[in-house]
């Protein structure tokens, strides 16, 4: 009898709990739903006395219009170029140094590794002033080089991949060495293929952080129409009189889509990678 009432009470509680959770999810999604809804409305129906989910028509054309209102095609291409190039540099440089730290024996290895980790402590805000000066000295202000290279050598990737390399059994490499494989061969043919899951995680997080980066492009890019990235393009809307909110929301949604897709498609791997390494966002 008591166990029956217990399980009934448990069912009720679980029902209430699940219902409340659905409400939490709806509240959480509210801003995004509102953004999508606004992105599909005619301009004069963005602000109405009573909020409506749908306007008088569903204007898909807003998404095309966003590209003519501001050069978003250019912004997207720039962002893609910078994020892909930056990610390639990060993955190449950090997998190489990670291999050295995980597998090669050399004097001062531990000290050097600590120095690497130490650089993670320095916040970007301290570096931007001298970095700008450095870019001036190199003649890289307002260039793709400046968007790609300065932040492509963080110790984070080295740390992540080193931790993964350490879990790969050494026997596999020794077998390759016996077969006459040098360190370069072992690295390319044994370690990299085995580290694919970790490299995938690093690739996605690096791509996403380049894709969303804002402060540095804001500083270093003067010709926004030419070399601007998507976040810079979005920020151009701010402060304009009579902001075209529907077009701006269309552009924001498009800026979010690639990252949302990556997160949804690779959810399991990302969660694991994130927890192993304690990635601090961007």
């Amino acid at each position: 009898m008591t166990s029956e009432t217990n399980s009934a009470a448990r069912k009720v509680r679980s029902g209430v709990s699940h219902t409340l959770l659905v409400l939490v999810a709806i509240a959480f999604l509210g801003p995004l739903v509102y953004a999508v809804s606004t992105s599909l409305k005619p301009a004069d129906e963005v602000f109405t006395a009573t909020p409506h989910l749908f306007g008088s028509e569903i204007r898909w054309k807003n998404y095309a219009d966003a590209f003519t209102f501001a050069p978003f095609d250019r912004y997207f291409l720039n962002s893609l170029l910078v994020a892909v190039a930056g990610t390639l540099v990060v993955v190449a440089a950090s997998s190489m140094s990670a291999y050295a730290f995980a597998r090669l024996k050399f004097r001062g290895r531990e000290q050097l590794f600590v120095l690497f980790l130490g650089t993670l402590m320095v916040p970007q805000e301290v570096l931007i002033v001298p970095m700008y000066w450095l870019m001036q000295a190199l003649g890289w202000v307002d260039s793709y080089w400046a968007l790609i290279l300065p932040w492509a050598f963080t110790a984070f990737g080295t740390f992540l991949l080193r931790q993964f390399f350490l879990t790969i059994p050494a026997e596999l490499e020794e077998a390759a060495r016996v077969d006459g494989c040098g360190p370069f061969g072992t690295f390319l043919r044994i370690m990299l293929p085995l580290a694919r899951p970790a490299i995938a995680v690093l690739t996605v997080f690096t791509f996403i952080s380049f894709w969303g980066s804002f402060l540095w492009p804001l500083i270093i890019i003067n010709s926004v129409e030419d070399k601007g990235t998507v976040p810079l393009g979005l920020a151009q809307f701010v402060g304009q009189q009579g902001t075209q909110w529907n077009l701006m929301m269309a552009a924001s949604i498009m800026a979010m889509l690639p990252t949302v897709l990556l997160v949804v498609l690779l959810q399991k791997h990302l969660v694991r990678g994130l927890l192993v390494t304690g990635l601090g966002g961007r």
Binding site: S97, A100, K105, R107, P123, E125, V126, P231, L234, S252
Partner: protein, 313 residues
């Protein structure tokens, strides 16, 4: 290398058979320098050198164009006496004080609620994580529209509840809470994941037997779950503290630091000094003040952890 006892005799021919570990060390060392070169070069040029350079620049009156003059600690004492900078530090501290506890409460509360018994929790993990990964500027744009007079919050309050909402972003009372609210929506998904994974490690059998022994939900949390998740708690609070001191895009786009300087943050001050007023020396000094604050907070966290973080379980 204490174990490195086999030393090749001096003058031994290179590549002598069974030469021991020293040549292997030397050979590895040569390869290591090749493997390390890109990262080491990049870090030296783009992190180590600029860090030292930042300290140097902060000691100069360093306009973007024109004469540079040595100031000693002039920039730092200027900052200490600049009412704007003081206000900016206070604003940043206020943001941190509001944001960090709320973020932890929301993410931990939801992580406990969404325990292993909840169906579809993987979906919630992905859902809450989305704004963490989407471009910050896009997220903030959406909230700018939400907070706009006539936007969803204003319109909803007015037409559904008959409340005359303030102009959130234009009011010195409401602008900071608005920024905090937006930031929590954007950021709690990360800590939610961290806590959620930690709670997965708590053995269900222990919780169940405690329940049979008559422990209520609060007691079970306090005496079983909490001790096991303190390492995650330490990690999450430290990371959240560090990143929240660096807040920039949210106030920059929501309020431009306004009204007045009511929501201007330290990083915005760095940006303004450097790229609006072109005073690189002051910008650099402000950046170093932020760095010192962050290092201090991290040090306090690490010293304090002995009192409450439990690594034994």
């Amino acid at each position: 290398m204490a174990t490195d006892t086999t030393v090749a005799p001096p003058g031994a021919p290179a590549g002598a058979p069974r030469a021991g570990r020293r040549p292997a060390l030397r050979r590895d060392g040569r390869y290591a320098s090749v493997f390390l070169a890109p990262s080491l070069g990049g870090l030296a040029l783009f992190t180590l050198f600029p860090t030292a350079m930042a300290l140097g620049i902060s000691l100069f009156d360093w306009p973007v164009f024109g004469e540079r003059t040595f100031q000693g600690f002039g920039n730092y004492s200027h900052l200490m006496h600049d009412p704007v900078f003081r206000r900016v530090v206070l604003n940043t501290v206020l943001f941190v004080v509001l944001y960090v506890p709320l973020n932890v409460v929301v993410s931990l509360g939801l992580a406990v609620w969404l325990g292993p018994q909840i169906r579809g929790r993987q979906m919630f993990r992905v859902l809450f994580f989305i704004p963490v990964m989407t471009p910050m500027v896009a997220n903030v744009m959406v909230w700018r529209l939400l907070f706009q007079p006539g936007g969803l919050i204003d319109g909803g309050l007015e037409s559904w509840f008959g409340i005359d909402a303030p102009n959130f972003l234009g009011s010195s009372n409401w602008a900071m809470p608005a920024i905090v609210a937006m930031s929590i929506w954007q950021g709690f998904g990360y800590n939610f994941l961290v806590f959620s994974a930690a709670i997965d490690q708590v053995p269900q059998s222990q919780l169940e037997s405690a329940q049979i022994d008559g422990a209520g939900p609060l007691q079970r949390f306090r005496y079983i779950t909490w001790p096991m998740i303190t390492p995650s708690m330490f990690f999450a609070t430290t990371m959240t503290l560090i990143t929240s001191f660096q807040v920039f895009a949210q106030p920059f786009i929501l309020t431009q630091g306004g009204p007045g300087v009511a929501t201007q943050t330290i990083v915005m001050y760095v940006y303004n000094q450097g790229w609006q007023f072109l005073q690189m020396g002051l910008a650099s000094a402000a950046g170093w003040v932020l760095f010192v604050i962050i290092m201090g907070i991290t040090a306090i966290q690490f010293v304090g952890q002995k009192r409450w973080v439990n690594y034994d379980v």
